[in-house]
Amino acid sequence: MMRIECPWCGSRSEDEFLCGGQSHIARPDPAAASDDEWAAYLYQRDNPKGPHHERWLHRFGCGQWFNMARDTVSHEILAVYPMTAPKPELLDVPGGEA
């Protein structure tokens, strides 16, 4: 069970959180987006083996969403950063890209 550092509440157990899936997915302009673009926004997600950027909710705590970079193999948490912040550089991760 992971221990997650909530940006507000500090270290808590995984069972207080909810994973909202991949983060940094821009919502296309609904009026301008083609069907394919809209479908990609809805359904196409990365499934990396290694670092992954996700959004998480501290559901049983402060109720805040935040971003988290997590290694999907080791479950190591590489970064926790605000919802509106850009993707951080993950320098110490082999092959990790911004």
Partner: protein, 1177 residues
């Protein structure tokens, strides 16, 4: 009673404390400090059970967790435990056990005849043999012949719970290395050291040592550790799993070792969740058996086990002991035994050469040595009698020379040592093969874990192990690898021949290490045999990844107290007691305990529901509607936000008006519906489906926090703050009119889909005129504390109108008659608004809303989409059920299904709703409804099958619209129901109290007071909530400045005069103020908030406050939360919002007390939870 063997004088058993026990019906004697295994050995019981498949006799073979042979059924009845390892069961007085998988008895098992079939029962025989006719045909027979113990059929008479423990250093194993690690870690006084040991007493392999120096070291180290306040040593606590982020799972045997008759309030076992800063694994090493012909005979044991039985339990297990080994450790054991007067006859070693010093010492002790020899056969039916040995060829690939016979009564074998790396492997650590010791040692790690001592391959003396995986030149099918599961070397070779390459596949095909053994003794030998058979090295073969649990865990411990009523959290309605008093049939609905219906004497469920439905149609009914979701949305951008959230256009919704709205997810799927109320230009009240409030709230917050961050909006969930009742029926207005209320309820003053706030019976009230029944309805909300009182008042006021309480079942009939949608019943995961006839409404919302773009995708345009419709069965006496399929035109496939169906007492026939392909264009068509092999014709009709004009909404006590009574023919025009709706009787209003009584959520619950733990409902304070739009620039600072206080940050409770501020979330505080000052304080907060986007509200009614105390309060709390509650971290005036007993709570440390704030509706659940979990305090 039989005579028991004399114990050696240095044994650790207490011969002054004899105990009697029964095994297989015989009474025996043992001593305090014995295990069941040592006591059986002391009494000369050589056969304890039978193997899983072939029923071969099995005796005690090891001394610890690795023994998968001596399995017993411990005790009888509800307490009984199957597959208990005799080596792990400490003896207690009166213990009763029986052998397993034997008939009639382990010593004389007729099923052993199966052994004759060994040749036709190789690995995988299941898959090859039981093909005809199918496995199910054979399963019953196989289960009877092969197996383990029996699970008890009655509920466990004892209980279990779970707890979370935090420590900076967690050490697993209290042997020499673990104790040394604990002493070292204890140097830092701020470091909490947790030392978990699985044995009955700490010491690990030191307990098997006869050396006085070892024993003195153990005693003094334990003494030293006992004096370290920061070290907690827990015996009988097996760590079973190593999970992510250094979280361990452990199982503590609290009183299970005392047997079923122990008088204790303690739980049988406790499930520990251990959160570690770093972990030290001092888990020791397990000795491996050697693989040779007939190595599974009782009387053949691990050499280390012989050592432990001799020195720890003081048993002389043989008069002529022979050792068989491939490493030096057995030589040391043999010499040590000889030193203590135990006769060792010989040492057979597969190695052609050993250290001359060992040879010299052996000769001096009178021990015969046979170097370069292997055992090729063992003899003795019930006990070991003889060994046949033969010389190995140079290189060890064959046998040569004559057979030699050694008489012996015990064979002590050692095939080398495997560091116990199960937990290390679970942590993600890699295992490296070390050739010189023929074992895996820790490789690269991935968590904060270190491995020490023998677990790390640091053996006290060099082993000089020579790999020896099976005996060459003799049949492999009698050389056992997994004793308990009857896996032989031949089985593994067969798997290799059948082209199984992966070790994971071989394991599953042969079942090697699959059951009780879990690879502890069989894993490495199996790998060695597979490597030989496939011409690879062991590192090339690789090993299986170990998975939790390390040792079988009791399912009861995983369940904890989450059983029966506490299986999951339940929420109670404010008027719960009233429903119970009325005899309501309660059911769990969306986490709420709600009345389904209120049966009267002699009434069936259907009769009760029909009576309630007709009462609403003909007179007036009362429904507890409190779970109806209620969210408040504040802010200058609230209207814009809601326009993006709802399909409808809300731009025109005026204050005081209400509109039904539909909510989609981004995929365009309908997820919720409800009435939206405009309270003010910047203030809205959203009603969601019952039980859906949390999910909708979460979705709204996600949009606001992640996408529309600039929108100035605050959302709060006020569902449990209000008790809501639905007064529905032609008499509704007349009943309401009797209550003192400043809201005008006349037809002209209060139209349909309007909302009013005011004062009802002296308390704040909100009334919505909407209708989910098709009748004139008022949905009345008052503060939750007054809910029970309002129910009583409405029942009293309605008495003269024959007011009838009705439950969810009647509500569902009423709304199905009207064709009102129920999200989740009448919609599925594909339903879009156009399927519900909302195509036109979508057009009216000029802007974008969640999911709108998805409606235009190709799938949304398909004319054959499943669309919402009514279904009228052609046979008016027919019935159908939800889930029945509507057939396609060719009758070969499904073209939709019935989503709601019930008997309508109003119409005297079944009414049904469904979603059917292209239904909206097919109105009037006849379709076939299929259910359980029968089809019946039905017409597609408009969903609303009663009063489509909505005339009944205007029905009033003065102009009743009678409907029929049950049992009357449909053609007969029904007469008005009795009693006649009447004008209010003036006398009735005399019973109406002018002011509603406020009641606490735990009225009548006296709390808990045990020596170690106290719980009571806290009173004396009122609660306010202050929210500010924290994403807005400078809003929090401006608010703090206006309030002349520093607003506390995360985790802090900040006193300010009589107020205490508790941080709940960014821009969100709970404020406690003395009772009686709530109104003034609220006004003060509102004044301070001024023009800021901030909302202050009184929330006392929506919360329950528990005051918790007693010496063990933090211990009890640790059974419900994973939060670190140590005084050092959670000190006075710390607070935390956390998950507790599966529900959200706010915890506050207040001196020696702890305060727990939770949703009022959860008060009864939490009270019951605390009662269950504090039984041992």
């Amino acid at each position: 009673m039989k005579r028991t063997r004399q114990r050696l004088p240095h044994a650790r058993v207490d011969t002054g404390k004899p105990l009697t026990f029964r095994f297989e019906g015989e009474t025996y004697r043992g001593f305090s400090g014995d295990t069941l295994a040592s006591a059986l050995l002391a009494n000369g019981v050589s056969i304890v059970g039978r193997s899983f498949k072939l029923h071969r006799p099995r005796g005690v073979f090891a001394a610890g967790r690795e023994d998968a042979n001596a399995l017993v059924q411990l005790e009888h009845g509800a307490w009984s435990e199957p597959n208990a390892r005799a080596t792990l069961v400490p003896l207690y007085d009166g213990l009763v056990a029986e052998g397993q998988n034997a008939w009639p008895a382990p010593g004389w098992d007729l099923l052993a005849a199966l052994g004759l079939l060994k040749k036709v029962l190789p690995a995988g025989f299941y898959y090859k043999t039981f093909i005809w006719p199918n496995w199910k045909y054979w399963e019953g027979l196989v289960r009877r012949l092969a197996g383990l113990g029996r699970a008890p059929t009655a509920p466990d008479p004892q209980y279990y719970f779970k707890q979370t423990v935090h420590a900076e250093v967690v050490i697993v194993g209290a042997g020499r290395s673990g104790l040394e690690a604990a002493v070292a870690a204890a140097q830092d006084p701020g470091c909490r050291v947790l030392l978990l040991d699985e044995q009955e007493e700490p010491g690990g392999s030191l307990l098997a040592s006869p050396d006085p120096v070892d024993r003195a070291w153990l005693a003094s180290t334990l003494e030293r550790i006992a004096q370290c306040p920061n070290v907690t040593l827990v015996p009988r606590c097996s760590v079973n799993g190593y999970y992510d982020h250094d979280v361990l799972a452990a199982l503590q045997r609290v009183c299970s070792h005392l047997g079923p008759h122990a008088e204790s309030t303690a739980p049988r076992e406790i499930f520990w969740r251990v959160c570690a800063g770093r972990v030290v694994l001092a888990t020791g090493a397990l000795e491996r058996p050697l693989v040779f012909p007939h190595n599974d005979r009782p009387g053949i044991m691990l050499a280390g086990a012989v050592r432990e039985y001799t020195h720890r339990y003081g048993l002389t297990l043989g008069e002529r002991i022979v050792f068989f080994t491939n490493n030096d450790s057995a030589w040391h054991t043999a010499l040590e035994l000889a030193e203590h007067g135990v006769r060792v006859a010989a040492i057979v070693d597969v190695r052609p050469r050993v250290a001359p010093e060992l040879l010299r010492q052996a000769t001096a002790a009178g021990i015969v040595d046979r170097l370069g020899y292997s055992v090729v056969h063992t003899r003795g039916r019930r006990a070991l009698r003889q060994l046949v040995i033969r010389r190995l060829t140079e290189g060890g690939h064959g046998l040569q020379g004559p057979r030699d016979i050694l008489d012996c009564d015990l064979l002590a074998m050692s095939g080398g040592w495997s560091p116990t790396l199960h937990l290390y492997s679970q942590s993600g650590g890699k295992l490296d093969w070390r050739d010189e010791d023929s074992c895996f040692v820790p490789g690269a790690g991935s968590q904060a874990v270190t491995v020490v001592g023998r677990a790390n391959g640091d053996f006290p003396q060099p082993l000089h192990t020579q790999a020896y995986w099976l005996t060459p030149g003799v049949a492999p099918d009698c050389q056992w690898v997994d004793f308990q599961y009857d896996v032989t070397a031949a089985d593994i070779q067969l798997a290799a021949r059948e082209n199984y390459v992966s070790v994971e596949h071989v394991k599953r095909y042969t079942t090697n290490g699959m059951a009780i053994d879990q690879g502890k003794t069989s894993n490495v030998n199996g790998l060695g045999i597979l490597a030989l058979a496939t011409g690879r090295s062991i590192p090339e073969v690789g090993t299986t990844r170990f998975r939790p649990p390390y040792h079988p865990a009791t399912i009861g411990a995983w369940a904890g107290i989450e059983l029966g009523a506490l299986y999951q959290p339940f929420q109670r309605l404010p008027a719960h007691a009233c429903h119970v008093a009325l005899g309501a049939q309660m059911a769990d609905m969306g986490g709420w305990q709600r009345p389904e219906y209120y049966p009267q004497a002699g009434e069936s469920e259907q009769q009760a529901i029909a009576r309630e439905v007709l009462a609403v149609r003909n007179a007036v009914g009362l429904l507890d509607y409190s779970p109806l979701g209620k969210l408040e949305v504040h802010g200058p951008d609230a209207r814009e936000f809601l326009n993006r959230v709802y399909v409808n256009n809300l731009a025109t919704l005026k204050p005081g008006a209400a509109r039904y709205g539909l909510m989609l997810n981004e995929r365009g799927i309908v997820v919720d519906d409800g009435v939206v109320v405009c309270l003010a230009e910047d203030h809205f009240l959203l009603h969601t489906t019952s039980g859906g409030a949390s999910a909708v709230h979460r979705a709204l917050e996600e949009w606001l926090q992640c996408e529309w961050v600039a929108l100035r909006v605050l959302v709060s969930n006020v569902t449990t703050q209000w008790a809501t009742f639905m007064l529905s029926g032609p008499g509704a207005r007349a009943v309401l009119a009797q209550l003192p209320c400043d809201i005008q309820c006349s037809r002209d003053d209060f139209a349909h889909m309007q909302f009013r706030t005011g004062t009802l019976c002296g308390v704040p009230a909100r009334i919505l005129r909407a209708s989910f029944t098709g009748e004139l309805s008022f949905e009345i909300s008052v503060p939750a504390a007054c809910g029970e009182s309002l129910w009583e008042v409405l029942m009293a006021a309605g008495a003269s109108h024959s007011i009838t309480p009705f439950g969810i079942e009647a509500l569902m009939v009423l709304r199905t008659e009207k064709g009102f949608l129920h999200i989740g019943s009448d919609t599925d995961g594909n339903t879009m608004p156009q399927d519900l006839g909302w195509g036109d409404a979508i057009g009216k919302n000029p802007g974008d809303f969640i999911g709108r773009r998805s409606l235009a995708l190709e799938a949304g345009q398909d004319p054959q989409r499943l669309q919402f419709t009514g279904l009228a069965l052609e046979d008016e006496t027919g019935t159908t059920v939800s889930g029945a399929h509507v057939l396609s035109e060719d009758g070969n496939s499904s073209a939709g299904y019935v989503t709601s169906a019930c008997f309508s007492p109003t119409l005297g026939r079944t009414v049904a709703l469904g979603i059917v392909a292209g239904a909206r264009a097919r109105l009037g068509e006849t379709v076939s409804v299929y259910y359980e092999g029968k089809t019946q014709p039905a017409r597609l009709v408009a969903p609303c099958q009663l009063d489509p004009e909505g005339a009944r909404l205007q029905a009033d006590a003065a102009a009743p619209q009678p409907v029929r009574q049950p049992g009357t023919p449909r053609s007969a025009v029904p007469q008005p129901a009795t009693p006649q709706p009447a004008t209010p009787q003036p006398a009735a209003s005399q019973h109406i109290p002018q002011v509603l009584a406020a009641r606490g959520p735990l009225a009548g619950d006296s709390g808990i007071a045990t020596p170690g733990f106290r719980l009571r409902e806290a009173t004396g304070v009122e609660l306010l909530r202050l929210q500010v739009f924290h994403r807005g620039e400078g809003q929090v600072e401006a608010l703090a400045s206006a309030l002349h206080t520093a607003l506390p940050g995360p985790g802090i409770a900040h006193p300010q005069g009589a107020r205490t501020w508790l941080w709940c979330a960014p821009g969100d505080w709970l404020v406690t103020v003395p009772a009686g000052t709530g109104a003034t304080e609220l006004a003060a907060l509102r004044a301070a908030a001024g023009e800021l986007l901030a909302v202050a509200a009184a929330v006392t009614d929506s919360r329950v406050m528990f005051s918790l105390g007693g010496a063990r309060v933090r211990e009890v709390l640790a059974r419900g939360t994973t939060l670190d509650l140590h005084q050092q971290y959670f000190e006075h005036q710390r607070c935390a919002v956390t998950r507790f007993a599966s529900v959200p709570v706010l915890l506050l440390a207040e001196g020696d007390e702890m305060l727990l704030f939770a949703c009022r509706s959860l008060a009864a659940y939490l009270s019951a939870w605390f009662r269950a979990v504090s039984r041992d305090c």
